[in-house]
Amino acid sequence: MARVGVFICHCGENIGRTVDCAAVAKAAEAFPGVVKSVDYKYMCSDPGQQMIKDAIRDERLTGVVVGACSPRMHEPTFRRAAFEAGLNPYLLEMANLREHCSWVHEDRPVATEKAIDLMRVMVEKVKKNAELRPIRVPVEPTALVIGGGIAGIQAALDIAGGGKKVILVERSPSLGGHMARLSETFPTLDCSQCILTPRMVEAANHPNITLMTYSEVTKVDGFIGNFEVTVRQKARYVDPEKCTGCGACFEKCPAKKIPSEFDAALGNRTAIYRPFPQAVPNKPVIDAEHCIMLTKGKCGICAKVCPTGAIKYDDKDREVIVKVGAIVVATGFELWDHSAYGEYGAGRLEDVINGFQFERLASASGPTTGEIRRPSDGRIAESVVFIQCCGSRDPKRGVPYCSKICCMYTAKHAILYRHKVHHGRAVVFYMDVRAGGKGYDEFVRRAIETEGAEYIRGRVSRIYRRKDGRLVVKGADTLAGRPVEIVADMVVLADAIVPQPGASRLAQMLGVSYDEYGFYSEAHPKLRPVETAKAGVFLAGACQAPKDIPESVAQASAAAAKVLGLFSQPELEREPIVAKVNEVTCVHCRACIQACPYGAIEDKEIKDSKGNLIRTVACVNEGECQGCGTCVAVCRSGSIDLDGFTDEEVLAEIAALE
């Protein structure tokens, strides 16, 4: 038999002024199952809580309803009190007599009637409530960071610095990501490699970080605290244990004309190569597609010159399964392909380049050792046109969003160019200058006011090559309202920021949602910008949306803090508001599996004692379920229920309103 205690709070005058609390307590006394009903000035005060605790013990209460303020205010308070008195906290409910009643109604009899109704509803619910216990999920305190750019490096370092193990997976042969390719960084113009490479080395040497470069995630199983991730380590053909990084191999490699990915195809590399001199690990890999030995079966020069015998032509891809408790996704971005813009040369004009290519030209370690030479003939560019919003904010042919970092890096490019070619002309075409950020607008102003960049508000309608090889840029100056024509040696397009190719495939593996462009979706745009809807998977950097370096680093540190928070306890404790499947009646139509926003429901095979499959049913993973109850409402046979808001509880509430 239910033994419910009812406690009506006056909240000083807040409730008592419009609700006759004594009358509510008296009416509640008559509800079936109520064995004690009292009112009190301040239920949340110590004596008020003590009153509840005493009643739980003295009256052997099986349920408590506190009629007071919003449960959003004091539900934790009263549930703790119930717990301390030995009652399962989920057997205590609150009726909202203040925010939903006394504060919004003036007529005392009417408000009192409503308060009695609200109490009846919660008394009927609490009679159906079940004892619930926090869900505990063991946590493997190792994190996987996917992506070895600045965001991934930062996240890995922060997690490792917090004393937890990290596996850092990078697809290319070296850490560093796009940041390693940059010449200088805005708005301070400090050298990108100078600030980045020490972090790369730190990550590689950190005792808590296991580095897996030239590796890709191919499969993700499990759930928060307990992921099993398959990582494919691509064949390097160079034994990293034996290799000393001396470089004899790539100096002698005869396959020399392979466009360098790192130099954005402005320079060449060999078939056995390290992407750049500061690469981490500083050990080459063989590009099997271009290696003469691996494609034609003869050559073998690198093996001959290697002093340590590190070359292994028979190396194979390997798959490794790692167990991790949390995953940080930091896969970054790529530049949009501007060949869709026919008027900008459709990608066929050699001297029309993108931002990365300009970075490599401006970089002291780049193919031109930092001189701004145009790709077609290597002449110093005397006049450069920079075009912003190439693909960005163009819903028809590009992407509708603003790529956010282009205004800043274009200003940087203009400044760098003017520093390197003092007599050169730098013209920037822009739609709007969006320079929000610390020191950012000042930086753009500096480009315009002291560095001599000419900013023209307007679009470029056409770029073509003149007979003498120079480019003619035709556009409009919309502020002056007249057409402009500029002769340039080079045009730099600020291509839109887009997700990495394959971003959606990784998202599907991870169970992370992504937007129509392939950027990963955060769990909540305002309050959970670092988490994803998949518990235990966090985001860092430009894989979520276009971001600059400080933003990527900040988000990486935030993701690391989330991971460390998760790892701070050996077990994860969660509120037990989760869905449960009735395996007897489930017919495995999979509607719930498809509807669950969290991918928290999976197939479960029920087998007999000999291991024969009897049937397959849906099964909720308690570690992942967030308790929304969407699955319950799509289940036609009524085979799923949500603890804390069960069908029985809700039906009791509705019935109480008859």
């Binding site: 009899p109 926003p597 967030q626 109850g629």
Partner: protein
């Protein structure tokens, strides 16, 4: 429930038979947006009609059409369902699931004789205390105009069943 307490407009203890009819409205709301919006209406001391009884669910995605049927069966004059605006769902997509379900279910209710004027859907965010108060007033007014839910409607419970 006693006769008087089913009529929120009634003065406590007054003669039930003498009381004029006043709408009874059951609201199914989500915890994160509309419930919080109702809280904000309270903290802002916005006055609104006392006819609505809120039943809180974690998410509109949890609201089974059976809830709505049951409320009408029990004699509610109207049902209100309210949750987070699209894109704001605490659980990212529960409200989208709910919206689609209602898009179909409300048609079925209308078609089988439950006047569309008795079934209300809304998005009320945690910041929209005023919208909540206005909504409750509007819904109450409209139901008052529509009159009591016909006791002979097939969806309603009869004393003899």
């Amino acid at each position: 429930m006693t006769q008087t307490s089913t009529k929120p407009d009634a003065a406590t203890g007054a003669d039930a038979a003498a009381q004029p009819w006043s709408p009874r409205i059951v609201a199914f709301v989500c915890n994160w947006c509309t419930y919080a919006g109702a809280d904000l209406a309270g903290t802002s001391r916005l006055q609104y009609a006392p006819n609505v009884r809120i039943i809180k669910l974690p998410c509109t995605g949890r609201i089974d059409p059976l809830f709505i049927l049951k409320a009408f069966e029990q004699g509610a004059d109207a049902v209100l369902v309210s949750g987070c605006h699209p894109g704001d769902c605490h659980y990212t997509a529960g409200n989208y699931h709910a919206r689609r379900r209602w898009g179909l279910f409300r048609r079925l209710m209308e078609f089988t004789g439950i006047d569309a004027k008795r079934l209300f859907f809304s998005w009320v965010s945690a910041a929209e205390g005023q919208k909540f108060a206005d909504l409750i007033n509007a819904v109450t007014d409209e139901v008052r105009q529509a009159g009591p839910f016909d006791p002979t409607n097939p969806a309603r419970k009869r004393p003899w069943t």
